[in-house]
């Protein structure tokens, strides 16, 4: 194993303070002499502090993370319509990775959720037309307490994709907020009501992707008209 590879193997544990003195010495010695591993170390060094934010035992109860809230709202909307939720598909992410990501989501939620319950009652404030190579979609956007409720009509999409499609609200800074997921019928059509934690005015584009995680798989895109 090269010195760099060995260092990388140990770097995570080192950042988390989990190495013994011998391995610590190996890593520190290598970091002094290797710029690339040094940069890698700098990327990771601040993470344990953020992770501590996620789960301190004496912290005040926080508002729910946006993702959780959105999942609950989405589920509620689905069940009210008598539709089954999409099957849970565990990713191939490592178990430790998933746990840390979840912890991070809580931390991020705590940092990011502001004013979720303070917006005005339902009123249509905007509209979006999305287009793609095949098909298109349009949605009426209404302000609800949790963020945005969208009545989405979709046509012309490839049917029966496992995992379906996901809607995203994109801020001008390029931040992606989930708008929920939907499936199309055999004609490639869908008519659904989804709820996103995205606040009116905080996003200016909407996208539809294949599945929840493939951000390169954008099939539809359009600008929000307020």
């Amino acid at each position: 194993m090269t010195a760099c590879a060995e260092c990388r193997e140990l770097l995570g544990a080192h950042v988390l303070g989990g190495l013994g003195p011998e391995e610590t010495a190996v890593v520190e010695q290598h970091l002094e002499s290797c710029q690339r591993c040094g940069r890698e170390y700098a990327e990771l060094a601040s993470l344990p502090e953020l992770l501590d934010l996620a789960g301190s035992a004496d912290s005040e109860p926080e508002a729910p993370p946006a993702a959780l809230e959105e999942a609950v709202l989405d589920r509620f909307a689905r069940e009210r319509r008598g539709l089954a939720p999409p099957p849970w598909r565990p990713g191939r992410t490592l178990r430790v990775g998933a746990a840390l990501t979840a912890a991070a989501a809580v931390a991020i939620g705590a940092l990011a959720v502001t004013g979720v319950f303070s917006s005005s009652p339902a009123e249509a404030f905007g509209h979006v037309d999305m287009k793609g190579r095949d098909g298109g979609a349009s949605a009426e956007l209404r302000a609800v307490r949790a963020g945005t409720e969208m009545r989405l009509k979709v046509w012309g999409l490839e049917r029966a994709r496992p995992g379906g499609y996901d809607v995203w609200c994109i801020s001008e800074k390029g931040r992606w907020l989930s708008g929920g997921s939907f499936a199309v019928d055999r004609d490639g059509r869908a008519e659904v009501e989804l709820t996103s934690a995205a606040q009116p005015g905080h996003y200016h584009r909407m996208l539809v992707t294949r599945g929840p995680s493939d951000r390169r798989g954008v099939v539809l895109s359009g600008r929000v008209e307020y």
């Binding site: 990771l44 993470l47 178990r95 940092l111």
Partner: protein
């Protein structure tokens, strides 16, 4: 690390390397979400 390895029934080296991959993944997610460093 040793405790984690015992709890998960994994070799110690595996826990260490997974800790690295997990932190890398977390960094990526935080960067995508634009959380400040």
């Amino acid at each position: 690390m040793r405790e984690i390895a015992e709890a998960l029934g994994l070799p110690l080296g595996t826990v260490k390397s997974r800790a690295y991959y997990a932190l890398r993944h977390l960094r990526l997610v935080l960067d995508e979400m634009e959380v400040a460093r």
